[in-house]
Every structure is written in C-alpha cells, then in structure tokens.
C-alpha cells in the first residue's frame, strides 16, 4: 500500500482549511444573493396553482381527486363534461342522444384535434372505454353498471350500445378522457397528449410540479393565460402562506379555518359553492339482528341527539349544510326527504322505549384522519352530544395508510359508526345512490357493500330507475329510492360541505363549480 502521506502531499492542511473557508463563504454569498432574487412569484402571463395532492398523472383511470380534475381536463377531455348546473355538456361530441333504451347516438365534432394536430377518431373513444374497463380497482368503473360498446356509423358518428338501459350514460362519459388509441394503455397515462386548451411542457413526478403551455391550436380558441404552473403543496398552511405572499395564485380544498384567515384580505378573493360530496356518520349495517343498531328506531334516536346545526355553524364555521337526503342536494335528481332534528329529550325517550337506559349502549366511532375538514372536532363534539343522552362513545382515529379498510369490512375489529365522505363526480343522484345503497347479498358475501347496507326495496327501485327511459318517470323512481333510504336512517348525521377556492385578484374569471373544479381555459389575468 502506498503511504497516505505520499498521496496527500499536494494538499496541505492549510490549503484544505482555506478551501473549506472559501466554500463556506460562497454558500453564505449565494444565500445573500438569493435574498436579492425574485421571491418565487409567478412569471408574467403565468398562473400558479397550488394543489393539495400530487398530480402524479394526467389521467383518471384509477382514481379521481378533486384537485387534479381541473388540470387533467385542461389537457385531456371527454365526450361530455359535467357543466356548472351539474348536467352533461357536450365537449368532444356535438350530439349525445338517447336514441333507444339501450343505445346512445354520438357524433364527434368536426373541428376537434389533438394538440399535435392529429384528428380525434371513433377508435380513440372505443379504446379509451376498453382501457378504463381493464384497470383493476378503478374508482370510476364502479359507476358503470356495464361498459358500453362502440359501434361506428360513419366517420364521426357512432352508437354506444348497452345490454340494459343506461339512462345516465351522458353523465358517466364525462369522466372518460379521450387519448389517441395508439398511446392509450390500461394504466394512468403520464404523458400529456390530449385535445385540451393546454399542453404539458415540463413535469417532475417526484415533486409533483407541472408546466402547462397554452395550446394555440385549441379547437375552441386559445385560452387567455400563456402558461400555468402546477405545484404540489400538501400542507394547507403552506398553500395559505403561498397565496398571501403571491407565490401562488390559486389554491383549492381549503378548510373553513383557512378560509376565515384569508377572508377580508384585499388581494385575495374567496369563492364558495355548494358541493356534491356528502360526509356521513354512517352506521354499521353488519350488526347482528339483536344489536340495538339493527333497529331503525334506535338509529333515529341517536340522530336526534346530534345537534347538526351547531356542528355545521360552529365547528365547521358555516361551511357546510346538514343533509336533507341521502345524497347532496346539488346533484341532479336529488330530492328533499327530511331533516336532522335536534331533540335529545325525545332521543332518550325513544331509547328507553327500546329498553336502552343510561350507560347501556357503548359505541365505537371510527374514521380516518383528514376524511373531512374539522373531522376530529366534529367527532369529539358528537361524543359529548351522545354522552348527554347516556350513550358512551369510544373514538378510534386511523392515520392515512392505516388499516381502516379492513375495519370497515369488519375484518380487523368491530365498530358502530364510521365517519366517511363520498364524492360525487358524475353530477347525478342515481349513480351515487347505486354506488352507496345498491349493495346486493352477493356483494355482501365478500363485504363489498357500503358498510353492509343491503335493502331489497332499494335494489328493486334502483333496477326500475335504471330500466326507465322516460326522464320524468325515472326521476319519480329516483325520488322514491331516496325516500326509502332516508327512512332507513343510514346516517347518524350527514352534511354537505361547500367547495371553497381562494385566488389572488390578478386572476380573473374563475368560476368554481359544485364538483370543486373550474374551467382552466376560461381563467384570465388582469390587464
């Protein structure tokens, strides 16, 4: 071995110390230089969005998160979209009509093309449907009772054929994003070729940052803003500070507390609309028949102990409304079925009538952290309210990534009430009712129903509604489904949170929709 001295003879200790000193000085100078640089605000002609979830793809085959929808739709589009009034609006199609009970006729617009100039073809639609159908565990697939088959009629016209009537297909197709057939695979797509108003010019999946450039050849006219920067800012406090300091132009999915902080700042605007999501304190319907919760009267009595108005006004700072039906009132086809009343005295009387006295009933309430804004405070208040009628409650909170799914299915432990939110991306009540309350005995064998909810009356009515092609008659049946569900007291309390968006004044024409999304193509900047 050569000696160490001979190897290191060229570098003296003094030289090394000097080098370290210079490097340290350089670091300090670069820090100071940084101070003098820009503060990270958006460049001119650009808008910066701060998303609470990482935009890991520009596709929604597997999951669909509110925060991602706006950006995904700015790059890829569907045949329809759910419009501001929650009805389907044609996008890539200029005709989408129910032409027979099991057939929809669709015609592609003649002026549409992808950002590379290639035309949209019928084959792209059929491939998209195949790819969505092939993904395991897809969120959207659950809303399709069956996948339609594409039958071409001419170059632009085709029919969507189903075995059984599917009267809400125009709603469902709003979530199927179209991509060139050759580039589509049964996975979430990372690249950005689409028909939308923006194209992706840079992305970093690791940091969740994307740069979108205006698609000057956009078939509906180029958008106003030249460039959109998408940043992943998971912590709400960071998003709020970023908006206040001008680093971010627009943030969504903010809690009532943060909205309150931002309210009144001259440079910030807040927009609130009634949302489509419903958050519930849902009962466990897998209880044995002799369990108190198996009785609708006991479930109703517990509901009477919950002061929904106080929870909505005080804990949720007025950013939510108590539900008046089993789905959000904003959805097309939803009806008012009743209301949650607060009457603890009656609650106690009803429990006593069932032979349940003070201290007889102990319940376990489970939920995952962050299921909805203010979740822990709501749960703690509920413990107090139920305690007032002599019902004990044990709270069990699961952190994200924990095994709440196993608990929900009753495989890891027993529980009585679940704090849970249910998003409604399709805009119509019927598919949501099907998703939540359409559980069958067969599905329950594998614990795949919504917390064990299986109701033969609901199933029969849902079948009737799906088979009915006359809209008025279908709505009548849909209303009956909701009433039957409501009367079964599935939730101790349920509420519909507002969708909230905050943006700086320099950004204009932000029209937040109930789906917690907005059209990025319409957004502009102050002159």
């Amino acid at each position: 071995m050569r000696t160490v001295m001979s190897q290191t003879a060229q570098i003296s200790r003094r030289t090394l110390l000097k080098a370290l000193g210079v490097a340290g000085g350089a670091a300090a100078v670069s820090g100071l230089a940084g101070c003098a640089g820009p503060t990270g605000g958006p460049p001119p002609g650009s808008v910066t969005l701060g998303l609470n979830r990482s935009l890991v793809s520009l596709d929604n085959k597997l999951n669909q998160f509110d925060a991602a929808v706006t950006v995904q739709r700015a790059v890829r589009q569907g045949l329809t979209r759910i419009g501001p009034d929650l009805t389907p609006v044609p996008v890539l199609a200029d005709r989408f009509e129910l032409t027979s009970p099991t057939q929809w006729t669709v015609r592609l617009r003649d002026d549409i093309h992808y950002s590379d100039g290639s035309p949209v073809r019928i084959e792209d639609v059929s491939t998209a449907l195949e790819m969505y159908a092939q993904v395991n565990g897809s969120y959207l697939a659950a809303f399709f009772p069956e996948w339609p088959t594409v039958v071409p009629v001419d170059d632009r016209t085709f029919t969507l054929e189903t075995e059984r009537p599917l009267p809400v297909l125009d709603y469902l197709m709003a979530n199927i994003l179209v991509t060139p057939a050759a580039a589509n695979i049964p996975e979430e797509l990372q690249s950005g070729l689409g028909t939308g108003p923006y194209v992706v010019t840079a992305s970093n999946r690791g940091t969740g940052e994307y740069t979108l450039r205006r698609n000057d050849r956009y078939w509906a006219g180029a958008p106003h803003v030249k460039q959109v920067q998408v940043r992943f800012v998971p912590e709400e406090a960071n998003r709020v500070v970023g908006l206040r300091s001008g680093e971010l132009d627009l943030i969504d999915t903010i809690t009532p507390d943060s909205a309150e902080q931002l309210q009144g700042l001259p440079e910030v605007r807040i927009e609130r609309v009634r949302g489509t999501r419903i958050n519930q304190l849902f009962y466990n319907f897998r209880k044995p028949k002799d369990h108190p919760l198996a009785k609708a009267s006991v479930r109703q009595a517990l509901s009477l102990a919950v002061d929904g108005r106080r929870l909505a006004d005080e804990i949720l700072a007025g950013s939510a409304q108590s539900a008046v039906g089993p789905v959000a009132q904003t959805l097309n086809g939803s009806v008012k079925c009743g209301a949650y009343h607060y009457d603890p005295r009656r609650a106690k009387q009803m429990l006593e009538a069932e032979g349940i006295n003070d201290g007889d009933l102990r319940l376990t309430l489970i939920w995952e952290s962050g299921e909805f804004a203010g979740d822990t405070s709501v749960m703690e208040a509920v413990v107090q309210m139920l305690g007032d009628i002599g019902v004990g409650v044990t709270l069990r909170q699961f952190e994200a990534g924990g095994n709440i799914s196993e608990w929900r299915q009753g495989r890891a432990g027993d529980w009585d009430i679940l704090g849970n939110g249910y998003a409604s991306p399709v805009g119509a009540a019927l598919p949501i009712l099907q998703g939540m309350y359409g559980g069958t005995p067969e599905r329950e064998r594998t614990r795949d129903t919504y917390q064990g909810y299986v109701n033969p009356d609901v199933l029969r009515l849902l079948d009737e509604a799906y088979a009915e092609v006359d809209p008025a008659r279908r709505q009548e049946i849909t209303a009956r489904v909701q009433q039957v569900v409501w009367d079964s007291w599935p939730s101790m309390w349920a509420f519909v949170p507002n969708s909230v968006l905050a943006y700086r004044n320099r950004v204009t024409d932000v029209a937040l929709e109930a789906t917690n999304s907005y059209e990025l193509a319409n957004v502009g900047l102050e002159a």
């Binding site: 071995m1 050569r2 160490v4 001295m5 190897q7 570098i11 200790r13 003094r14 090394l16 110390l17 370290l20 490097a23 340290g24 000085g25 670091a27 300090a28 670069s30 820090g31 940084g34 101070c35 003098a36 640089g37 820009p38 503060t39 990270g40 990482s54 890991v56 793809s57 597997l62 999951n63 395991n136 565990g137 897809s138 959207l140 659950a142 996975e187 979430e188 990372q190 999946r205 690791g206 940091t207 940052e209 940043r231 800012v233 998971p234 912590e235 960071n238 500070v241 970023g242 680093e247 994200a400 990534g401 095994n403 799914s405 299915q409 890891a412 998703g435 594998t446 614990r447 795949d448």
Partner: protein, 311 residues
C-alpha cells in the same frame, strides 16, 4: 488506501443490505395494505386481490424477499405504487433537493459556528461568553418547526421578501437552510469552543507562545487545526443525517426532498418507494462518512487509514 476504500465499500454494501432487509420485513409487518392505498375507495375484495397479485404482494414475505433481491441485483427497485413510476427514478428526482439543502445548511453552519466557537473559546468564562452561550442554548432549544414558522411569518408574510415554499428560485433555499442551520450552529459552535479551550490551554501551545509565535497564528493555525477532526466528524455526521431528510423543515417549507417523500411513502404503504429511499439515503450517508474518513489524514498526518492511529 485502495484496499482500505475497497474494504470500507464492502462493509458498506453489507450494512445497506442489512438495513434494507430489515426495512423490507418491518414495513410488511406493519398494519395497512398497499392495495387499498393503490385502489379507489370503492374497490371490491376481488379488485384488491387482483391488485395484490399485480403488485406481487400475494406471496409470502420470504418469496417476496427473494424476488426483491433478484430485482435488486439487476438494479430494479420496483415501481412506486403512488407515483406509478420506477421508484429509483422518483427518489432520484428528489435527491438533488435534499443534497442542496443539506450542503447549504452545513456550509452556513461552518461559516457561523467556527468563528463563533473560536470567539467563545478565547473569551471562556467571561460575561460575553455567557451571553453567547445563552443565545446558542436558546437556538438549540428552539424546535425547527417553530423557528421555521417564525422565519416564514417574518420573511414571507410580513415582509414578503423570500418565498415561503418550494424551490422555484435560489432564494427559496434561504429560509430552509437557516432553519436547519440554527440548531446545528448551536451544537457545532459549542463543540468548537470545547475543543479550542482544550487546545488553547495545552502545553504545546504554551511552548509555541514562548517561541514568540503570534496569537492569531496560534489560534487559527495551531489550535484550530488540532480541533478540526472532531468538528469535521460532527459536521459530517450532521450532513449525513440531513441526507436522510430534514422532515420537519421539508414540511414547513414544502421542500421537495426525500424526507417528505418517505413520509408520503409510509402513509401510502408504498413499499418500493420506501425501499428505494432507504437504499439511496443509506448509500449517500455511508459515502459521506467514507469521504470524511478519507479527509482525516489531510487534517492530521498522524492518522493512517486502515491502521491504528499513532497518536
């Protein structure tokens, strides 16, 4: 030297293998199912079973481990469940940010802590040193999330002169680096002070002083050189620890480093991503330690790598 490096690299490979094997088993024993994190909330039992098969999670831990080792030796660390991309690439996307922050923080620490420590040593047991001690102890006692939030409030909200989050410009580095360095400055300056006091009162310095060598040279040339090894070791250890992610600071400043990545990977039970992060950060930390060891002979000629030090 070469033999020493090869030997150390061999030892390091074993350490990494042991670490990653432990992580492999422990994360699979923890509650939670990657399939449920991967799939939509309404996925059926059948969907989840298919996803487990697709992700290679349907076999025993042993069979999964054998498969993992086979892939590891071909350089394949699997595909991240949450990013739907090669886990190694996802980690590599984040590593530059972590290295940048760690380097800036360590350099800032060195620039402040060395002069401060020397200053404190030369004024040992005086009122001024007590004052400096109070300040460093206060800095050491401040949790990073608190100091970070305070800096953020002042420089990003009240005087919006520095970015509050991310790393879109170089100025975005200033606040996170200061936050990380605050605690380190307190620790390192006290270490420098202790080492310098010990050297400044040692007989060899008294002899040097008797030979008429100037005070500046005594302090900066002699005492500091002899204090360099423990200080460099401490700085290197802190730097290696920072490479594993400065989670709190990353969260406060939305810094896209590996610390926040691994937290996210743990939340989503993203096994390949957790394994890739552990592998990369362990390798980096070991490399840094090796580099520090290689620097020792430069600082002290008595040090012989791979042999007992003739001190």
């Amino acid at each position: 030297m070469t033999t020493y490096i090869v030997k150390r690299l061999g030892q390091s490979a074993l350490v990494i293998l042991l670490t990653i094997s432990t992580v492999f088993v422990l994360i699979r024993m923890a509650p939670g199912d990657p399939a449920t994190a991967f799939a939509a909330p309404n996925a059926t039992t059948e969907d989840l079973a298919q996803i487990r098969t697709q992700l290679g999670l349907d076999g025993s831990i042993l069979s999964q481990y054998v498969t993992f080792l086979g892939q590891l030796f071909t350089g394949d660390l699997g595909t991240s469940y949450s990013f739907r991309a090669p886990a190694f690439e996802v980690v590599l996307d984040r590593v530059p940010y972590t290295i940048t922050l760690a380097l800036a923080a360590v350099m800032l620490t060195a620039v402040i802590a060395l002069p401060l420590g020397i200053w404190m040593a030369r004024r040992a047991d005086t009122g001024r040193e007590t004052g400096a001690n109070i300040v460093t102890i206060a800095a050491q006692s401040m949790p990073e999330f608190w100091s970070g939030i305070m800096l953020l409030t002042v420089f990003s909200v009240l005087l919006p002169v520095l970015p509050s989050s991310g790393f879109t410009t170089w100025s975005g580095l200033v606040l996170p680096a200061i936050t990380v360095a605050l605690l380190q400055v307190a620790l390192i300056s006290r270490l420098v002070r202790r080492e310098m006091v010990s050297n400044l009162t040692s007989p060899y310095l008294t002899v040097a002083r008797a030979h008429g060598i100037g005070e500046r040279r005594l302090v900066w040339g002699y005492a500091l050189s002899n204090s360099a090894i423990p200080v460099l070791t401490a700085l290197g250890t802190r730097f290696a620890a920072m490479l594993n992610g400065v989670v709190v600071v990353e969260v406060v400043f939305n810094w896209p480093g590996v610390g926040s990545l691994v937290v996210r990977a743990l939340e989503t039970r993203d096994y390949p991503l957790i394994q890739a992060t552990v592998l990369v950060t362990a390798a980096l930390a070991i490399l840094v330690q090796l580099l520090i060891d290689l620097l020792y002979p430069l600082l002290d000629p008595r040090v012989r790598l791979g042999k007992a030090t003739a001190r």
